[in-house]
């Protein structure tokens, strides 16, 4: 039995005539200790899928099973790292993490909480900024706080919703390595939602494309047969990497084309040129 299972999941927003089916017929199974990446276009329903898995949303049809039991509401067993960090701006880094620790491990001594929070903050390398407010941190640092907060609850599974989407390429790389390191330490199950194919190939065991919505559904999976630990530069010469990358991109391009051809109405652009203000005053 798979660790996380989605069986024929449909999600519809609105009712009756206004109903939009965002996700249809989603089938997914993730084994324990696996790192799975779901790659998709923006607006294809990725966040909806994440919220179904972490329990913030309920499927309209079908079932989401976690460890064989249906998901009902959120749980400390599934840690979530949100796309926009979602740190509480009035709390310091430490207080943000402490809040999660206190909820996950009730009725401990204050010193225990402090030690736990300090451990996870240290893990993401933010000990010097422990007493800072989120607005005093850079985007990458904020996301690291979010990572520390999610990990501090010791979840069995980490769900990441485009966690590095808003970061620059360099910070991205460092954070990818940090997340992989942490994941490698105790091999928790991980689900990464991303729009970056390279990120998926670098981090995951399997990549599953999400076909664009409405009626988004999962495409065929791509196994990444590259040994860990992976090296970014060496990977570029790996024939396996090239093959998989090309296959995934080709697949995504194809569905992109498909989507374009589905647009029935063509909009004629007016034949206008911008007014030339520069030469006017010469």
């Amino acid at each position: 039995m798979a660790y996380l299972e989605l069986n024929n999941v449909y999600k519809t927003y609105g009712t009756d005539e206004n109903a939009t089916e965002v996700l249809s017929n989603i089938n997914l199974s993730i084994e324990e200790g696996e790192f799975v990446a779901i790659v998709g276009f923006t607006g294809s329903g990725k966040t909806t899928l994440v919220n179904l898995i972490n329990g913030l949303l309920e499927p309209t049809k079908g079932e989401v099973l976690f460890k064989g039991k249906p998901v009902e509401g959120t749980s400390h067993e599934r840690g979530v790292i949100f796309q926009n960090y979602s740190l509480l701006p009035w709390l310091t880094v430490e207080q943000n993490v402490l809040m999660a620790v206190k909820e996950a491990f009730p009725k401990r001594e204050k010193a225990v909480y402090k030690r736990k929070a300090a451990y996870y903050i240290d893990m993401v390398g933010l000990t010097p900024a422990i007493n800072k407010l989120p607005k005093e941190l850079s985007g990458g640092m904020r996301q690291r706080v979010a990572v520390a907060r999610a990990l501090s609850m010791k979840p069995d599974m980490i769900i990441m919703d485009e966690p590095l989407g808003a970061l620059d390429a360099l910070t991205r790389g460092t954070l990818q390595d940090q997340i992989l390191n942490i994941w490698g330490k105790d091999k928790r199950t991980a689900l990464l939602i991303t729009n970056d194919v390279d990120e998926g190939i670098y981090m995951a065991d399997r990549i599953i494309p999400l076909r664009p919505g409405p009626n988004a559904t999962l495409g065929p999976e791509f196994k990444i047969d590259i040994e860990r630990p992976r090296d970014k530069t060496a990977m570029n010469d790996n024939p396996n990497y090239k093959k998989t990358r090309n296959a995934i991109i080709e697949y995504l391009m194809d569905i992109g084309e498909e989507r374009k051809s589905q647009v029935s109405e063509a909009f004629l652009l007016p034949d206008l040129a911008p007014k030339d203000f520069v030469n006017q005053f010469r």
């Binding site: 959120t74 749980s75 400390h76 840690g79 949100f82 979602s86 509480l88 009035w90 909820e103 996950a104």
Partner: protein, 368 residues
């Protein structure tokens, strides 16, 4: 890491940033590029105050002349040339018995301000003397189980200011105690919101005068057996009820419009309802709650004058009304003094709230 507290930081925190420019002026720290800022922040306000005083002076003079000419004309028409000459001489001599009674000039207001302060010094001395005189007697009366004798002389202008502040703060805290919890409940529950909405919409625009009358009807009956003066309780309750609406509306809006991300965090962390309210919803709506409280305090101060006047509760409002009824030679000047005092205290109260707001909430607000 300790942050040093400097004058600049404190004044900026309180929304009084222009004070630090003054400090730079006197400590010679002004840089060349600061002169433009100096011109804008110091010279322009000072110039506008001077211009205001000048226009006021000229306007007061013109009104004075109109009034004086009218009096002379009237004397001429009713009593003949001799009486008119007498009147003109009397006005020119500055005799208080025949001065035209109109808008006082800035200098008259300043004189009245000083006389009010002198008056306060006199009354304070009188009070101290009274206390000293009755100290022994009061001790004896208390020992015998009787009430001590208290000073019952008239209050000075400064006493009235403090009395008004007491009323306004009592009203403000009443508004806070009613509006903040109620606002939180209304914001949390759509059912309560629809139950209270009509109530808020209808009572919000009601005039302070009507609130006073309503409170008067109720409190008068409640305190029917009490021999105590109910004017204070009536006025502060009316002030509170008038001014609480801004806080009520803002609190409920802040609570019901908490960022969805924060609510998701609460769900993912599985916070209980109590925790959710106190750790997520309240902190994130604090900026809006404080905006409401700021409006409430300024509204409370504004309606206070009207309500004190109606309730005959001692304070600045009653002071203004009594001076108006009094009609003495310097009454008008005293009313203008009260006007400025009311304005300045209102401004300081606003800054006080701004400081508290910056102190407690995570979003820093600059002064307007």
């Amino acid at each position: 890491m300790k942050q040093s507290v400097t004058l600049g930081k404190v004044t900026k925190f309180m929304g009084l940033g222009f004070l630090s420019t003054f400090k730079d002026l006197f400590t010679g720290k002004l840089e060349k590029e600061d002169y433009k800022a100096f011109l804008r922040k110091v010279i322009v306000p000072v110039a506008s105050v001077l211009l205001f005083l000048g226009l006021w002076h000229l306007g007061a003079k013109a009104l004075y002349n109109v009034e004086a000419e009218f009096r002379i004309e009237k004397a001429l028409n009713e009593q003949g040339q001799a009486a008119a000459d007498d009147m003109a001489a009397c006005i020119a001599s500055g005799d208080t018995s025949c001065q035209p009674n109109t808008l006082p000039s800035p200098s008259q207001v300043w004189t009245s301000f000083q006389s009010l302060l002198n008056d306060h010094a006199l009354i304070s001395a009188d009070k101290a003397a009274f206390k000293e005189k009755t100290a022994a007697l009061n001790e004896k009366r208390v020992a015998e189980g009787k009430d001590p004798i208290v000073y019952t002389g008239r209050p000075s202008f400064v006493d009235q200011i403090f009395r008004s502040l007491k009323t306004v703060f009592a009203g403000f805290f009443l508004a806070l105690l009613i509006a903040v919890p109620l606002g939180i409940f209304i914001g949390l529950s759509p059912t309560l919101k629809s139950a209270f909405n009509w109530f808020i919409q209808i009572f919000k625009p009601v005039s302070p005068v009507v609130w006073y009358l309503l409170v008067f009807m109720i409190v008068k009956t409640l305190l029917i057996d009490s021999s105590e003066d109910s004017s204070f309780s009536i006025s502060f309750i009316a002030v509170g009820l008038c001014s609480m609406w801004a806080t009520l509306v803002n609190t409920s809006m802040g609570v019901s419009s908490v960022d969805k991300d924060y609510i998701n965090v609460a769900k993912v962390l599985k916070l209980g309802n109590f925790q959710k309210v106190f750790k997520i919803i309240l902190p994130s709506s604090l900026p809006l709650i404080f905006t409401g409280l700021k409006i409430t305090l300024s509204v409370a101060w504004m309606v206070l004058i009207a309500i004190e006047l109606l309730a005959q509760s001692p304070g600045l409002g009653l002071f203004v009304w009594e001076e108006f009824q009094n009609g003495a030679n310097d009454s008008n000047a005293k009313i203008i003094v009260a006007m400025f005092v009311i304005g300045i205290i209102g401004f300081l109260l606003d800054r006080l709230m701004l400081s508290i707001q910056n102190w407690v909430s995570f979003e820093k607000t600059d002064a307007i």
